[in-house]
């Protein structure tokens, strides 16, 4: 890594459950940080290609002539489509969505957000049908602007982002006319679906001959940056939430157990690689709650210090279903709970239960994936802020009974985008060359006795999850 620039953009919360970003601000920040990074390069270093990784499922609609968004972007955490999704899921032909897109209808994905925009922005539908409006996820918006915007901008999306819309046939990797009918989306506004690794256009806004040669959704970029190129290889990113992706190779896995099938990546001219994904909404966010909501710690890292004041959880379990549970349960009505309270339980036990919740949720997801794919997990590659927590990482290793491995470069999302772009323009010859770049910085090895004990304890956690779902039931 030779240079880093970052810039935060504003989050808008106009109503409870609504989360928006200003696409113009993101574009301005991108131009500015890119120019700064180019200026930062030591010794007049040369940039040979640009790669993009983006938060997935965030939805933008803009005017192709003026380049102005019709409204702010609907962000992936936005839950305004909840009612729309219930309505759509109740239709007799709703089974089509799972069958073609590989994913059940949920407000988490961008298709329902696009439908909401078409329904609620004045004249949006008729203008979209006339081809005046364009749709994109964030990488599409940035690529269009980088390649000229209204003046010849390229309107493309990478296949991993397209797979998160519910509008794409996950086998052929083309927009599916029946799904477009189902959601009521005009085909004229959709970008062209392209491989993740391959030249997408020239970033004339930054430099006359700089190719944009890679684009991936952030979690797929982390999978790529972690060099998980073989079936079975998996990574988990522990941030606010946790996102586990396991490469399943060229075969699409039919899921029944609560994981979802998604596109991992595609190299130009090659078949698509698929992945199973398990998204957990609350991981690090639970530690933040311990800090900000309860005031038991003054920094996130101190949760380990507090947890180490006791030897075990004292019978206490925390289910962090703050706004329902995602994978593998998909129960939006579930609400959080603390189970097993006795007068014996101290804040130390609570801290341990908070960390263990992230470990147990990882086990939930891994079990669902194993049931769906039949692939065993050789080891779990981890990244994200919580990987500096040794107690948690050892717990994950024991709960899964597999080694947990942290790579030397923690910025796996950016690294994955850079790998994709570099691979496309020949900086690296093939994925094996990228694999040789990957180095282990730490490894947590499961302790056999602990693994046995945690398997025996796991039903307690499952019971707590059942109770959290029951608590939230109408």
């Amino acid at each position: 890594m030779v240079a880093v620039r970052q810039r935060e953009h504003r989050q808008y919360f106009p109503k409870p459950g609504w989360v928006e970003h200003d696409p113009m601000e993101i574009w301005a920040n991108t131009q500015r940080t890119a120019a700064q990074v180019l200026a930062d390069l030591p010794g007049g270093g040369e940039v040979v290609a640009l790669g993009i990784a983006n938060q997935r499922e965030t939805t933008v609609v803009w005017d192709r002539v003026t380049g102005r968004p019709v409204t702010r972007a609907l962000v992936w955490q936005d839950t305004r489509t909840a009612d729309l999704v219930i309505e759509l899921a109740a239709r007799p032909d709703a089974g089509l969505v799972q069958e073609r897109s590989g994913m059940a209808i949920a407000g988490y994905f961008s298709g329902p957000r696009l439908r909401w925009l078409l329904d609620h922005v004045p004249r949006a539908r008729e203008r979209a049908e006339r081809g005046e409006l364009l749709f994109g996820t964030m990488e599409t918006w940035l690529i269009w602007n980088l390649t000229g915007g209204p003046d010849g901008g390229v309107h493309v999306t990478d296949v991993t982002n397209a797979s998160r819309t519910l509008l794409m046939d996950v086998r052929s990797c083309r927009w599916d006319p029946d799904l477009l009918d189902f959601f009521g989306i005009p085909a004229a506004m959709l970008p062209e679906i392209r491989p993740s690794v391959g030249v997408l256009g020239v970033a004339t806004a930054l430099s006359p001959a700089l190719p944009i040669a890679g684009a991936l959704g952030d979690q797929q970029a982390a999978l790529f940056g972690q060099a998980c190129f073989a079936p079975g290889e998996a990574k988990c990113t522990y941030g606010t939430g946790s996102f586990l992706l396991q490469n399943t190779g060229a075969e699409l896995v039919h899921t029944r157990s609560g994981s979802i099938s998604t596109v991992a990546y595609q190299l130009a001219g090659e078949p698509v690689h698929y992945a199973l994904e398990g998204s957990v909404a609350v991981a690090g966010a639970l530690v933040q709650w311990l800090r900000d909501g309860l005031g038991l710690i003054s920094s996130a890292a101190e949760v380990e210090t507090l947890a180490r004041t006791v030897a075990d959880n004292g019978g206490c379990y925390v289910v962090p279903a703050f706004s329902g549970l995602l994978a593998p349960h998909w129960r939006g009505e579930a609400r959080g709970l603390v189970a097993g309270l006795t007068s014996y339980v101290t804040k130390g036990h609570l801290a341990r239960a908070v960390l263990e919740a992230t470990g147990w949720q990882t086990r939930d997801v891994v079990q669902a994936m194993a049931a769906d794919s039949g692939l065993s997990l050789p080891s779990l590659r981890v990244d994200g802020g919580m990987t500096t927590n040794n107690l948690l990482m050892q717990f994950v290793a024991d709960a899964l009974d597999v080694p947990v491995v942290r790579p030397m470069v923690g910025e796996t999302v950016s690294l994955g985008a850079a790998y994709a772009a570099g691979l496309a323009v020949g900086v690296w010859s093939d994925v094996e060359a990228l694999r040789r770049n990957w180095h282990r910085a730490a490894q947590w090895t499961p302790t056999p006795e602990r693994a046995v004990a945690l398997t025996a304890e796991y039903p307690r956690w499952e019971r707590a999850v059942e109770l959290s779902i029951a608590w939230g039931a109408p």
Binding site: E302, T388, N389, M408, H439, A441, A442
Partner: protein, 261 residues
């Protein structure tokens, strides 16, 4: 200085008249002195402090000298006035070891990647040992075991020498006093320490201090590996490597808010 201000610096009870059975008198006296020094805002000399705590000037002076030695008070050379020392400030802003690991992680990774050596961050645990707080593997994908939580001898490792050199009130054992005190003074002066096979024959380490808020040394950051890869034929640390270690330690210090340290 007004009389009123001096009065407000006086502890509520005159110290000489309050002796609680079973307590250590000199610690009570030192605590009272610290209260007076803290309340005065660095405006009192030994005479005023002795009067405020109700002790003889010679007793007060000897207590102040001890507090000065451990870093709990500082003395202004020009005025002779006493102020609260950095050692006291550090007591209140204790750096959590897990916080240390989280904040140093990016720099420790970069040090391992660039140097090709294993990296360890350690804190002092008593007079004889240091504890590994963070460990990054040597980036060659060989089998290695995470050493977080492992205790290492303080006197024979580079990490330990850095920490002992900056430890408050550290006194070398009598037998080795001269050479040991000399080595620690050297470590303090040049800002790094080296272990030339003292802990493990043929293996060694280079380490530099990591400073926390207020500039006090909070940890030591270093590389370790085969001695020949760390030092040249005369036992001098290889320049490029030494620069990487001291740069990384400074970067972590800045991350922790050590200011100009």
């Amino acid at each position: 200085m007004s009389h009123g201000r001096r009065a407000s610096a006086r502890p509520p009870d005159a110290l000489a008249s309050v002796v609680v059975p079973g307590t250590v008198q000199s610690i009570e006296r030192a605590a009272a002195i610290l209260q007076v020094v803290a309340a005065s805002g660095g405006t009192l000399g030994v005479t005023d402090i002795a009067e405020a705590v109700g002790l003889a000037k010679t007793t007060t002076h000897s207590l102040l000298r001890t507090l000065l030695h451990v870093g709990y008070v500082d003395q202004d050379r020009a005025t002779g006035h006493y102020a609260v020392g950095a050692g006291i400030l550090r007591l209140g802003s204790h750096l959590d070891v897990n916080e240390l690991r989280a904040r140093s992680s990016n720099w420790a990774d970069a040090l391992a990647a660039r140097s090709g050596h294993a990296v360890r961050l350690a804190t002092l645990a008593g007079e004889d040992e240091v504890v590994v707080v963070h460990h990054v593997f040597r980036p060659d994908d060989s089998v290695q075991v995470l050493e977080v939580g492992t205790a290492l001898p303080a006197r024979t490792t580079a990490l330990g020498k850095v920490l002992l050199a900056h430890a408050l009130g550290h006194r070398p054992p009598r037998a080795a006093a001269d050479s040991w005190a000399g080595e620690l003074a050297e470590v303090r002066a040049r800002g790094w320490a080296v272990d030339r096979g003292e802990h493990h024959p043929g293996r060694g380490g280079i380490a530099a201090p990591v400073r926390g808020p207020g500039g006090m040394v909070a940890a030591a950051l270093g590389v370790n590996g085969p001695l020949t890869s760390l030092v040249d034929g005369r036992g001098t640390p290889r320049g490029l490597l030494l620069g990487m270690v001291t740069d990384a330690a400074s970067a972590v210090s800045r991350e922790l808010g050590a200011g100009g340290a």
